[in-house]
């Protein structure tokens, strides 16, 4: 269960992390009852401030996707009601196509870029 942050992206790292955890919960890869790493550990692993990770966990708790259980950590709740996963992928694919068109690239170049991105993960 890996998350990737792009520090050069215009999307804030807070939003990148929140949306990735949200997708992992919605897709069932993070099952209900799974414990997320403590804020301190995830902040160290990602090289972020603890406040940023805390903000992400708070946002996910407000969405009803996780529950903070004191010293027992942050527990994943049922994410089946979240239906953003498929539309997220579709929107991202649209963005790739628009960028490829604007750069004057053909479909095979867009496919190659996607294949390389998949290999990098």
């Amino acid at each position: 269960m890996i998350v990737h942050l792009d520090t050069g992206s215009p999307v804030p790292v807070f939003e990148q992390l929140r949306s990735q955890i949200e997708r992992l919960i919605a897709s069932g890869q993070l099952r209900p009852g799974t414990k997320l790493p403590p804020i301190r550990h995830l902040a160290t692993d990602l090289g972020l401030a603890r406040a940023t990770v805390n903000k992400v966990y708070d946002a996910l708790a407000r969405e009803g996707l996780v529950e903070t259980a004191g010293r027992h950590g942050t527990i994943v709740l049922d994410g089946s009601k979240v239906t953003t996963a498929a539309s997220d992928l579709s929107a991202a694919a649209d963005t790739v196509v628009v960028i490829a068109h604007q750069l004057g690239l053909d479909a095979s170049a867009a496919h190659r870029a996607l294949d390389e991105a998949l290999r990098r993960l």
Binding site: I2, T7, G8, L30, K35, P37, L42, T44, D45
Partner: protein, 276 residues
Amino acid sequence: MASFGILLLALGIIIAAGLSLAVGGTHVSARDVAWLAGTSDSSPAETDVYSRYLQRHRVHRLVGGLLGALFAVIAGTRWYGSVSFGVGTNGPLADMLFCGLSGVLVGAFSAETFRLSEPPSATISASLTQHAGVARPQLIRAARVSSLGALLGSALVAATGNGLTPLWIAIGGLVVALVAEATQSAITGRRRPVLSDRAQAVDLRMRSFAGTSIARLQLAVAVLTATWAVSQVPGVDAGPLTLVQALAVITGFVITVVLLHRASPRPPRKWIAEPS
């Protein structure tokens, strides 16, 4: 005259440290790497990582231990007029074992928190799985119980008007135990590799070694503190209590030395690497 003696002893320790470093006391051999890696089949890159890690632990611990012992020599000569090894009539500040052990723990903390700056990278990856817990939790529990027992027992001695010395010793031991706890926290909480299985395996081996070694050091210092506190309990002048006190002190001293030896960042003498 006393200051001349201090100078001589300090010089002796510094020369001994220099010599031990010079003759390769911290040199890491292929056998050492195989012991840490659990296999003789490490790649050159893995061998390099293991070697640098083990050497850092050895150098930092050696320097920390020698500085601790040097402090004990200076403090003992300056304030008590003599230096002890193990438990004596002076306080732990004049005890080369207590101060040396504390120095080794501070050195281990320094080795674990030492980080090279990472090359800048646009993407950062992290796993959402839990970090591995502390190695040897039973040793850490025993150390905490021993430290707490020494503190409560010595507080009881102080409350009954039998002297504050055991309490000060227990508080001193607690401070050193906190350094060990901080080191364990640094080991379990530090950044971990996620994209390579081999890198994860190397990281786990190093964490396991460091966690086990620090847990033994923590228990050693807790036992030594409790031994000190027991040895300083006043009013045990004769009878079977004297024997019990003497036995407790000897047992505590032996356990401390055994734990300190087993916490060493070196393979046991009889350890043989499995053929790859």
